[in-house]
Amino acid sequence: MKQGTILLVEDSSDDVELALLAFDRNRIENKVVVAWDGMEALDYLFGMGKHAGRDIQDLPVVVLLDLKLPKLTGLEVLKRIRADERTRLLPVVVLSTSQAESDVRESYQNGANSYIAKPMSYDRFAEVIRHFAEYWLGVNESIPRPGKA
């Protein structure tokens, strides 16, 4: 398993708690940073706002991005990530309650690496999170982070 931070962009404290529970259950011990809205997520990635001064070279291993967010929507966040050279290749996995075809299509069009629909059941969700970790923290090879070769 790769070390490194997982950035969880999620406005619902319930969903954050459930996600953290699922990580716990699957013994995923990576650091999880929670951004409560789209703006905060970008602040974190680009060292702005309350994250000003953070080493922005230290990118998360993967971003778990909800689509329905206050202030800046998930898709807007995704566009900004892809638009910025520094984060253009950052793995972003959309984690949404929506199964609407339009949401899925737009996410991929804007450069999402994967799209996961949140299942209703917690057990199922925990399983989805396990698969997610196995793949993105295990199987998947990503571009080595600058400064940490």
Partner: protein, 765 residues
């Protein structure tokens, strides 16, 4: 001899010969002798005178003539006396003979002859007829006076004194005391110096009787004639109609015929009975009507009605034609005699007039019968008059009706001559156009048309004239007098008029309102199209809104659900050791409920997607789709054994995606509900004509209560509990919605445990 001697001789001779000839003819021989003697004496006197005056040759000459005259006179006297004796003998023989003849006559005659002594009034002689007539013997009668024979002896005595020759009527008395009328002829003569009267007494009983009879008959005839005259002059049926006529006829007839009851009866329509139209009762002077007599009850009478001119029943109770009435009619009304005359109209008997004698029977005379027949004829005349009156009334009414119809029907009627000049217009036409008759008659009809329409109208009329067999029609504009322009529809036909000229018959209707209505409809349609465009745009906006609502609903509703279910599961799996059994149960309930709600939201969303989807109809192979769904179902549950019956090439003109969803639902249901059947079978098929097919999906599963077939298609309505069969209750609602979108329909047939068949049918695209 001198001339006057010759003349005297000639006169004497001529007088003598003429006298003898004349007197022998008259057998007055006494006068003959006297005449001859006078002639002789005259001649002698003349001769004496001639001798005295000394005329002639001498007294000898006159003596010869005197001797000759004396001889001639004596001869003539002898001849005449001889003749006289012979004549007397003859006369005596004649008297004897005549006496015998007169005696014979006296005895043989039917008239009673009596010889009365004028002074004693005693009967001197009577003939045989007298004895027979008076009932006495000859001996008895010769003891009687003439007054003993008379019922009026004083009159008889008086008349003997006056010596009347003829007594036209006197009543005499027979031996038995009965009186009888006689006519007496008397003559007087002397017998042996006693004045006698011979009376020829004629019994005139029979003559009196027949005189009385003919007098009565005459009187009756006069009454009959008066009655008929009165009827013929009567205007009752002209003024008062049939009822009044009948009343007059019955009354007049009852009085003229002197009967108690007269009634008029007419057949009903079916000729099964006669109905009394009027009955007059003379002693009450009243009229009544309304009773019936049925042909079936009185066959002989009804037969007689059709055969006889008059039914004269002197004794109605025994007469075979009328005795049928005896108990029911004659006795209750005390009718003794009937005189009934059938009423004939155009050779058909239409009824009967009855004259009924109450009380004593009556012998109807031929005059009575003739009168009854005439009265029946009057009834027929009254009926005819009524018919004629009614026909005239009907005719004039119908004429009036047609006239009114023609004038006031809300159509304009024109007749035009071949040049298009107006010959006539009805009242409505005049009023509608606002012209007077004078303004239109003789004017060219083209002037009435709107200026632009005059040319077409002219063409139409010309065309009409070329095709007189057809009714032509057109719609053009006309102008009223006040300048108003109206649309008219005209129907025109050419006909030959009474004077052999061709005329146009034009029926013209004002269709301005219709034209306006048409214009309004056209405007309305335009507006409607516009409105549809607007509405469609509005709908599109509404659809967009709905879509975004559904999207956020699905997201926003699901988020809290996920929390509920997520945390309850987290509690169950991660904190299991800290929960007691009850807490665990509650958490499970929370989890199940939230899961169910999530499914409902999903179903709702999919339903709204179907409603919103854009539809494209094309030829869809239902068999292909069904096959693929069947394999999916089989693959998902490989342990189930279900036989799918799907004929190849079943096509429908529909939206392919929606058809897939439809079949998924129907086949999925069938699959689900056959799970307990031993030999599960699911069939897709179609019935009906190609192009008008009804499709169906049939299974042999648990079926449903047919009473609830209607509710099957209601959203979230389930006929089975969740425990029995999984499902959201949205499948058939979805099917229904899809068929609705195709403008088709869907319905279900089934019974519990008998399987279910869902039919669906498209409309023509």
């Amino acid at each position: 001899m001198s001339w006057y001697v010759v003349l005297s001789l000639l006169i004497c001779l001529t007088a003598t010969i003429w006298s003898i000839f004349n007197l022998t003819q008259q057998r007055e021989w006494r006068l003959g002798i006297l005449t001859v003697t006078v002639a002789y004496l005259t001649l002698r006197y003349l001769l004496g005178f001639l001798q005295r005056i000394g005329y002639g040759n001498g007294p000898n000459e006159w003596g010869e003539i005197e001797e000759l005259a004396t001889s001639l006179w004596a001869l003539l006297v002898v001849v005449l006396l001889g003749q006289m004796l012979q004549l007397r003998k003859k006369a005596e023989a004649a008297v004897r003979e005549s006496e015998i003849t007169y005696r014979g006559l006296f005895e043989a005659t039917d008239d009673a002859i009596v010889l009365v002594d004028r002074e004693t009034k005693a009967l001197i002689d009577v003939n045989r007829a007298a004895c027979e007539r008076y009932g006495y013997t000859r001996a008895e009668m010769l003891q009687m006076l003439i007054s003993d024979l008379s019922s009026e002896p004083r009159k008889t005595r008086e008349s003997l004194e006056t010596g009347e020759r003829r007594i036209p009527i006197r009543y005499h008395r027979k031996r038995d005391g009965s009186a009888f009328p006689v006519e007496i002829t008397r003559s007087q003569f002397n017998q042996n110096g006693r004045p006698m009267i011979v009376c020829v007494i004629r019994d005139i009983t029979e003559r009196k009787k027949s005189e009385e009879l003919s007098r009565r008959r005459e009187q009756q005839l006069r009454m009959h004639n008066q009655a008929l005259g009165q009827l013929s002059r009567s205007e009752a049926w002209e003024r008062g109609g049939l009822h009044a006529a009948f009343q007059e006829i019955t009354k007049v007839a009852a009085r003229a015929l002197e009967v108690e009851r007269v009634s008029v009866w007419l057949f009903d329509r079916g000729r099964t009975k006669i109905i009394c139209r009027d009955l007059y009762e003379r002693s009450w002077n009243r009229h009544s009507s309304g009773f019936s007599l049925f042909a079936s009850d009185h066959p002989s009478y009804f037969k007689a009605l059709s055969l006889n001119r008059v039914i004269a029943a002197d004794d109605a109770a025994t007469d075979q034609r009328t005795r049928e009435f005896s108990e029911t009619y004659l006795k209750p009304n005390a009718i003794a005699s009937m005189l009934d005359a059938p009423i004939r109209l155009q050779g058909r008997s239409v009824g009967v007039i009855c004259h009924e004698q109450v009380g004593r029977a009556r012998n109807w005379s031929p005059e009575d019968e003739a009168f009854a027949g005439s009265v029946a004829d009057f009834v027929a005349i009254a009926l005819e008059a009524e018919d004629r009156k009614r026909a005239q009334l009907a005719l004039s009414e119908s004429e009036e009706r047609y006239r009114a119809l023609y004038e006031d029907i809300p159509s304009m009627y024109f007749t035009l001559d071949t040049e298009g000049k107006v010959l006539s217009v009805n009242r409505y036409g005049l009023e509608h156009l606002g012209y007077s008759t004078l303004e239109l008659l003789g004017q060219p009809v083209l002037n009435l048309f709107y200026e632009e329409d005059r040319e077409p109208a002219k063409r139409h009329l010309a065309h009409c004239l070329k095709h007189p067999e057809k009714i032509s029609e057109w719609e053009l504009r006309k102008v009223c007098k006040d300048g108003r322009v109206i649309w008219v529809r005209e129907y025109v036909r050419v006909r030959r008029g009474t004077d052999d000229h061709l005329v146009f018959l034009v029926v013209c209707e004002d269709i301005t309102e219709r034209k306006q209505a048409e214009e309004q409809v056209r405007q309305f349609n335009l507006e409607l199209e516009q409105r549809v465009v607007e509405r469609t745009a509005q709908l599109q906006v509404a659809n967009k809104e709905l879509e975004s609502f559904s999207y956020s609903a699905s997201h926003d509703l699901r988020a809290p659900l996920r929390s509920i279910s997520g945390f309850s599961e987290a509690l169950l799996s991660d904190y299991a050791e800290k929960l007691d059994a009850k807490a665990e149960d509650y958490l499970n309930r929370i989890r199940t409920a939230s899961k169910r709600m999530s499914q409902l939201i999903d179903a709702l969303l999919s339903l709204s997607r179907i409603t919103r989807r854009e539809m494209r109809r094309t030829s869809v192979d239902l068999s292909d789709i069904a096959q693929s769904i069947a394999s999916d179902l089989q693959a998902a549950t490989p342990d189930r054994q279900v036989e799918f019956v799907i004929p190849p090439g079943l096509k429908a003109n529909a939206d392919p995606t929606l058809m897939r969803i439809l079949l998924e639902n129907l086949l999925g249901n069938a699959w689900k509900y056959t799970s307990r059947s031993e030999r599960a079978q699911v069939e897709l098929g179609a019935t009906g004509e190609p192009g008008d097919l009804t499709y169906f999906v049939r299974d042999n599963g648990v079926g449903f209560d047919s009473d609830l077939a209607e509710t099957l298609f209601m959203p979230f309505h389930r006929l089975h509990s969740k425990k029995e069969f999984e499902g959201e209750g949205i499948g058939l609602t979805t099917v229904h919605r899809i068929m609705q979108r195709h403008g088709g329909r869907v319905w279900a047939e089934g019974q519990i445990d008998q399987g279910a068949t869902i039919y669906f049918k498209f409309n023509a695209p």
